[in-house]
């Protein structure tokens, strides 16, 4: 039990650090959002009127006061769930803007990641069990080759082949004319729009799991407890699953949580290639427009996402590996 309490304590401490960094980092960047906004409204070459800038700043509720005061306000608002108004989508609240994009990305990423993990681990384990077979060679060589490709490059390729040339799938957006919600036409459109982005991610992401799982599993197959399990006359299925794969899975579980964070990076480019209405595209826009509140909230969201994934992985690891529980409790 102490293992789990400790892990949770670490989680809270890291969360605080993240929240603070998230406050500081955007403020270190050069440039004034109000100025950019005025320029955007008045045209690039227009003369900047200080009064206009001040007015814009007041309207946006842009931060003023010392850094400490700002930090205090920031924490207070955070607790109340008030993330402010978006500069670029003014006058919408940040939460509303994110709310619209949130599920697009979360569903895309979770589904592809979970699928990649399962596919990768199963293929990797099977390749290791049938080591040096044709299956193993195909999987290992294929993975090594595909692993050199980048998801956004594959996205462009898919877009060209299946979107423009063959015209099987829509090339941009998330849906066409239907009303968002749980109705059949919308779900159908959403799935067909998500298919290519998902495929772009699915071609590359399992590779890490395949190679990782294969290598750990091969190492584990040399262990005494595998030889003993064979000597015990247990069916191959039991030896492979309960003895070999069960142990080889452990490093992958930690890896999975860590990978979730990196995956969002890949997703940003893929989303932009498909003009997919998700968080990745939103993040790109927020950076371009110096939309502090939106950017901060997005960063916070992703880091919290990674932290939660890590916590889950830690807890899961504790369940899966009895040695970890004792070593740290």
């Amino acid at each position: 039990m102490r293992y789990f309490a400790r892990k949770f304590g670490f989680f809270v401490a890291t969360l605080w650090a993240v929240v603070t960094l998230n406050f500081l980092i955007p403020r270190l960047q050069p440039g004034d959002p109000a100025e950019i906004m005025v320029k955007k409204l008045a045209g690039k070459d227009a003369q900047l009127d200080p009064a206009q800038v001040r007015a814009m700043r007041a309207m946006l509720g842009a931060p003023d006061g010392s850094l400490v005061q700002q930090y205090g306000t920031y924490l207070g608002e955070l607790v109340r769930g008030n993330f402010g108004l978006s500069y670029s989508y003014y006058p919408f609240k940040v939460t509303e803007v994110i709310g619209q994009a949130f599920w697009w990305t979360v569903i895309l990423v979770t589904v592809t990641q979970a699928l990649s993990f399962v596919v990768g681990v199963v293929l990797g384990a099977y390749a290791a069990w049938r080591r040096n077979s044709r299956f193993d060679s195909v999987v290992t060589l294929g993975s090594t080759f595909l692993g050199t490709l980048q998801p956004f490059w594959i996205a462009l390729l898919l877009l060209y082949v299946f979107g423009y040339s063959l015209g099987w799938f829509p090339t941009s957006g998330g849906y066409e004319e239907s009303t968002p919600g749980l109705n059949f036409p919308f779900v159908q459109e959403a799935v067909s729009h998500s298919f290519l982005p998902a495929l772009a991610l699915l071609i590359v992401t399992p590779i890490g799991w395949i190679l990782g799982m294969r290598n750990t599993m091969i190492m584990n197959l040399g262990e005494d407890y595998i030889r003993l399990a064979k000597a015990k006359g247990l069916p191959d299925r039991v030896v492979a699953l309960k003895y070999a794969a069960r142990n080889a899975l452990l490093p992958s579980v930690t890896g999975f949580a860590l990978a979730l964070g990196g995956v969002l990076g890949g997703a940003i480019l893929v989303e932009q290639a498909f003009d997919y209405p998700g968080l990745g595209r939103l993040m790109g826009e927020a950076v371009e427009n110096k939309d502090y509140p939106l950017l901060q909230t997005l960063m916070l969201l992703t880091t919290v996402g990674v932290l939660v994934a890590n916590l889950v992985a830690d807890l899961l690891y504790g369940v899966l590996d009895p040695r970890a529980r004792r070593a740290q409790s």
Binding site: N132, A231, K232, G233, L234, R246, N247, P322, R323
Partner: protein
Amino acid sequence: MSLLDVSDLSVRYEPKSHRPLDAVQHVSFSIEAGEFVGLIGESGSGKTTLGTALLRLLQRPGRISAGSITFDGTDITHLHEDELRDLRWRDISTVFQSSMNALNPVTRVEAQFRDVIEQHSRLRGEAVTTRIRELFDMVIIDHRFISAYPHELSGGMRQRVNLALALALEPKFVLLDEPTTGLDVVVQHSILENVRRLQAEQGFAVLFISHDIGTVLDLSDRILVMYAGRIVEEQPAAALLRDPLHPYSKGLLGSYGDPRAETVRITYVPGRPPDLSLEIRGCSFAPRCPERIARCTEVDPPLLPMAAGRAACHVAQLQRDEGGAGEHGEPKRTFDGPQFVKTAEESTQALRGDVVLTVDHVSKVFTRRRGLTVQHTEAVTDASFVLRKGEVTALVGQSGSGKSTLARMITGVDSPTTGRIVFHGPNGDQEVAGFRGRSLRDYRSNVQMVFQDPYSSINPAKRLGYVLARPLANYHGLKGDALRDRVEELLETVALTPADRFVNRYGYELSGGQRQRVVIAKALAVEPDIIVADEPISSLDVSIRAEILELLGGLVQTKDVGILYITHDLLSARMLADEVIVLNNGRIVEQGQTLAVIRSPQDAYTRTLIEAIPNPF
């Protein structure tokens, strides 16, 4: 019909990048129901490969290339895995080499009994639990450990659990492959006692694979001696001890001394086993054999019935022929090889040497802080002794007795909590704990360490010349020709000759014994006053142990250094040490001249240690 019949069995390894290698060559033997057979040989002799082949667990690139294995009337040599599965564990089970890792680390012990019991018997649910309890009773382990995870058990307990697991289905045959190597002598002794008792009660047959002739002789009814992939001798244990046929068996017997004798003599077999991937002409042991005759280098001796068993030796055969003794000499019982001799007289002499280090009422308490709780562990309590020049002091105790902690304090890695360690060096008396920076560095050139595992103590990326030159350049500032001469001198001191042949080699190209010599040469490089040797021979084969002991023994006399020899094995302490210090739970329980302590131990713990030494004589 025997329970297990092995006939003309060969195992070949065919790796893609190397020459094929016949690890087991034309081996034939049989084991009767309920018989306890020992299989002895040094590492690389093929004994473990043979065992693995019997279990049909060989993995590529290894395969059975000839011969047959018949178990209980069924030919299992090429039996399909599905049919084999019914035989596994129900009839044939095993305990692996020091199986610290033979239990699945992520599942409870109970589950690992349950899966195999349910696989091969009709027992289910509560009946299985009852059986597991019985098995735990058999190996004398508390029932609460049934639901433990493997890492929660100590090494000895784990091995008992493995033994219980092997007996779960009342097999007819159990293969024990070095089941106690790596465990403390006392634990080893109690596990083997357990094996013997259970074997007598339940009547299963055993093939006991070991490199330790003492325990094999102690336990077995009959013994197979394996060398270079072949069986070179087979005899009942008593006959082997009384009248060994093959010179290699004599060599193995010679590596075992009686610790109670006034003068201990142990012989060793010089040289190394042959490379099995090369063609061998004549007898494979001939190059190392003191009894070699012309025929040995030309004709491969067959394994023939002789005396009470079988042997593959021309000389033994000729001597035992009608009238052969007259022409070829009487059979010898001993191995005419190099000897290592330790006399009680030497020890008495050594105890008069100059004191070089004093350990004065030293205690060490480790403090572990975890959150708000602080845990104190007393690793060493009030230890006092001295180290002398020209003397070997043995520190004997089980793992966890505090011997390594003492070594760390003597080398200046840790400092004592209370008490003092004083070094009587060229600059007068200095306290070890007071050394910092430069003075600590100077002190380290006076105290050198030799570790247990020669395989990981030499940088594999550097040539030996470089390995040995480092300490010389660091501490003595030697350069160029002077440096090279000194390196070669060192190699010669540890009998790696001719030195120029070793300078440009890498550590991994050498045998275990040669590597340990390099490690010792490295320690000698800076001309230390004290060498702390932590189990320097325990990972080496019996036949080369004596070699290293002799080297260390010789150094003490010629180089005038003091050696602190750390070991869990009282027998090797007797061979090397003049004085012995017995450590139990951080306390010195007994201390004195080695022979005196072994002959009349005062402390109960010392007596336990002495009883644990296998004594076939």
